[in-house]
């Protein structure tokens, strides 16, 4: 399994490591040279060391394998994905710009709706969105920020252009993998960390804590912050527990909290009731409060929305923030950025067709075999059609779905996602990947250095989701000095 860059060929795709066979990109030059010097045995030994490290920590991931709906350990590839700091700084700015505009947009939607009266976003789109929550109208979260934690998925097309593929403004997950991946590569390639300037990622929990603390309705030195989980059977439970532990916050379930007559939230402790200031909730909107949303929810807290609206507790993300990660709204984000910030978007959207528009819909229906069709309100790759890989029957089914409910669908060209060298058995081969950076926003904005790189391990596959044969890589933002 020796790496020979001259025979490594990503073909028509943009490769993150090399610019052409035999020629590593500037920021990746040192690591490419280093990897090439390793013998097959040495490289194998590093991968084994990584697998062992994962198995050790793996207990924490694989324990749920007996129940249903439980995440498995992700395969991890030791070859890091390299992004030069210079490029990253620009992406960071772009993400901050995007989050700022999206938060202004959400706040506007729940107040004056100027964006609608000014004709930027059609009224029908909002009134028809199931993520627009009437229960949130006129609410004013601190700093007017609604989406405090965002995971935006970035992809790179053939020509090297980086696009935002989608924004996850509800309860994005994966950040714990980002941190774990780094701790593994540090064990596997310590010498590279000594020689290169690779930006750290393990300060995320500290930033998360500071951001959450800034939301506290009571100006205290030590606000009571809790992480609210749906419980052990949630696939991201490990992450909830991990973040709570790292922040020194209590990990609570709905049943641990109660809203008293004073509209404040309390947790039940062995000392009695204790007031809670900030809830980092990893429970979806509809289950948050049986009084306001789904009556049958056992995961939530009765009266939580009352307490939140009264300003007695902060919820991160705020309920209703999901209205802005609707796939149809996504197509308006460039206009939204322009409208609120009077700036051009730094990171472009993937060009998209809206099926609600007659002309665009007709184009989509005529070109289904070349397009990716996405429903407005699903995540994790569910309910999606990848035209070029679908059968005629599947395409026919989608054509009907689109005609029946055009508002619910958008279409995008099938992108040629960029690749990076990945260990596949005895060889190193190009595999497609994406990137999920995490953005924190309150009165300040923080963007992770890099994020979670997800890689499609099956040859030729473009699907990076863990449930569908995806794995992950560590992401290195490398400072090569100079400009």
């Amino acid at each position: 399994m020796e790496i020979e860059w001259t025979t490594y060929d990503p073909g028509e795709f943009y490769d993150e490591m090399i610019s052409s066979p035999g020629n590593p990109r500037r920021a990746a030059r040192a690591i490419a040279g280093y990897l090439q010097k390793l013998s097959a045995r040495q490289l194998g030994r590093r991968q084994n060391a990584a697998d062992l490290a994962i198995a050790e920590m793996g207990v924490t991931f694989t324990v749920y394998s007996e129940g249903a709906n439980i995440d498995r350990t992700w395969p991890f590839d030791i070859i890091p994905r390299i992004i030069p700091l210079r490029e990253w700084s620009r992406i960071e700015e772009g993400l901050e710009q995007r989050m700022t505009a999206l938060n202004m947009f959400i706040h506007d939607l729940y107040h004056e709706q100027k964006v609608i009266t000014d004709g930027i976003v059609p009224k029908k789109l909002i009134s028809g969105s199931k993520s627009f929550l009437p229960q949130c109208i006129d609410a004013s979260p601190r700093f007017n920020v609604w989406a405090h934690i965002c995971g935006s998925d970035l992809v790179r097309d053939r020509d090297g252009t980086l696009y935002v593929l989608e924004d996850n403004l509800r309860v994005p997950s994966g950040v714990s993998y980002m941190i774990e991946n780094r701790s593994i590569t540090k064990r596997v390639f310590p010498e590279l960390f000594r020689k290169h300037r690779i930006l750290p990622v393990d300060d995320y929990p500290a930033h998360l804590f500071d951001m959450l603390a800034s939301l506290s309705p009571r100006p205290l030195d030590y606000p009571e912050i809790v992480v609210m989980t749906p419980g052990i059977y949630n696939s991201a439970y490990f992450e909830h527990a991990y973040l709570a532990q790292q922040m020194g916050a209590e990990l609570v379930e709905g049943g641990d909290l109660v809203v008293d007559d004073d509209d404040c939230v309390y947790m039940k402790t062995i000392d009695g009731l204790q007031r809670v200031d900030v809830i980092y909730r990893r429970v979806n909107d509809e289950f948050l409060d049986p009084e306001a949303f789904r009556e049958d929810s056992t995961l939530g807290v009765r009266g939580l929305m009352r307490a939140w609206r009264a300003g007695n507790v902060a919820l991160a993300n705020a309920p209703g923030a999901g209205v802005a990660d609707d796939k149809v709204i996504y197509t308006y984000v460039p206009d939204i950025i322009k409208y609120y910030l009077d700036q051009d978007p730094i990171i472009p959207n993937v060009p998209s067709w809206r099926c609600a528009d007659k002309a665009q819909r007709e184009y989509v229906l005529a070109n289904l075999d070349q397009l990716v069709v996405k429903p407005a309100n699903e995540s994790g790759g569910y309910g999606m059609l990848v035209g070029p890989h679908a059968s005629a029957v599947e395409r026919g089914k989608f054509a009907n779905l689109i005609k029946r409910n055009p508002r619910n669908y958008i279409a995008q060209p099938t992108l040629g996602l960029s690749t990076a060298p990945t260990i596949c058995g005895q060889h190193v081969e190009p595999r497609h990947l994406d990137l999920r950076p995490f953005i924190l926003q309150s009165d300040r904005t923080y963007v992770t250095a890099g994020g979670l790189t997800r890689v499609a391990l099956r040859k030729g596959s473009l699907v990076v989701n863990s449930s569908q044969g995806g794995g992950s890589k560590d992401t290195w933002i490398v400072d090569t000095g100079g400009n």
Partner: protein
């Protein structure tokens, strides 16, 4: 500390202790059945009675032969008393409180459960029962030791300690109840039989050696009884477990007045017991009374720390 978490740690410790004690019980009982002559009046059925769930047993099993009783005690997943259920419950409780327990604690409990499940699905445990049960006991003790040695002894640990000791007190009294069985074998002197029985009771609690060191006399039923009820330093003696619980309440946990009062009452009850008289008659009723009080104590613990008033109103 969250009430829910306190409750789970308490139950984790109880179930872990229960698994260990049930394994001890079956192990010693098995060997006793081999040693005592047939027809002494001791049978497998008594194991069911000790477990306190004879109604469940009678509903679900046709006869109380060895095979059925062993299955019920070890691998029946429908009752909380079996080894496998206890381990499953211990695992479930520790798995949801992992942020407070050292990660090795979780790993060992998880592995122990997987080990027991694997062993108990085959029928082999009937053959290598002794080794299997010894391993269960040893691994449970390892986990208890691990928690004692690596967990900060703050409130979280105190709930583990309370759970462990209450469960222990409960099992010790159940074992004493076994000793109260009347044995009749024609031609064999009653006293010798009885002494042998009490030796087994001591063994099942790992108390034989400590008894010898402490009492320095041959096994005598009333002495054994006094030792198991009233000894302050033997960890499985009822008086000792109650002392442990009282310390947890008094020194470490908030708002403990009511449960503490209940423990003090229990301590007095045990201290004032007259072993000689009890042995002569009324032992079974006395044990019943103690178990009733343990249940009562559990209710007070639960009401004080686990389910807050407001909870019921909501």
């Amino acid at each position: 500390m969250l009430s829910r978490v306190a409750e789970r740690l308490y139950w984790m410790a109880r179930y872990l202790e229960r698994a260990e004690n049930t394994a001890r019980l079956v192990k010693v009982f098995s060997s006793m059945m081999l040693d005592l002559p047939n027809g002494v009046g001791l049978n497998w059925r008594q194991l069911v009675d000790v477990s306190g769930a004879h109604e469940y047993f009678d509903r679900n099993y046709r006869s109380s032969g060895e095979r059925n009783v062993i299955k019920y005690m070890l691998s029946d997943t429908n009752t909380h008393g079996s080894v496998i259920s206890s381990l499953a419950m211990a695992r479930e409780n520790i798995r949801t409180t992992r942020d407070l327990v050292p990660s090795e604690g979780w790993e060992h409990v998880n592995e122990l459960y997987l080990f027991a499940r694997k062993k108990l699905t085959g029928k082999t445990y009937l053959k290598d029962r002794h080794e299997f049960l010894s391993e269960i006991v040893m691994r449970c003790q390892q986990i208890t030791g691990l928690l004692a040695g690596t967990m900060s002894h703050g409130p979280a640990y105190q709930f583990v300690r309370v759970g462990r000791n209450l469960e222990r007190a409960d099992m010790t009294t159940r074992m004493i109840d076994v000793g109260s069985a009347t044995l009749i074998v024609p031609g064999v002197e009653l006293e010798r039989l009885e002494n042998r029985l009490w030796t087994y009771v001591l063994r099942s609690l790992s108390a034989h050696q400590m008894y010898r060191q402490y009492v320095r006399r041959r096994i005598q039923p009333d002495q054994v009884l006094a030792f198991l009820l009233q000894n302050m330093v033997f960890p499985r003696a009822v008086a000792h477990t109650l002392g442990e619980i009282a310390t947890c309440f008094e020194d470490h946990l908030p708002h403990s007045e009511e449960p503490l009062r209940a423990v003090l009452r229990l301590q007095r009850l045990v201290a004032e017991a007259d072993a000689e008289k009890l042995h002569a008659g009324g032992l079974h009723d006395f044990i019943d009374l103690l178990q009733l009080e343990f249940g009562n104590l559990h209710q007070l613990i639960s009401g004080t720390w686990f389910s807050l008033e407001l909870d019921e109103a909501v």
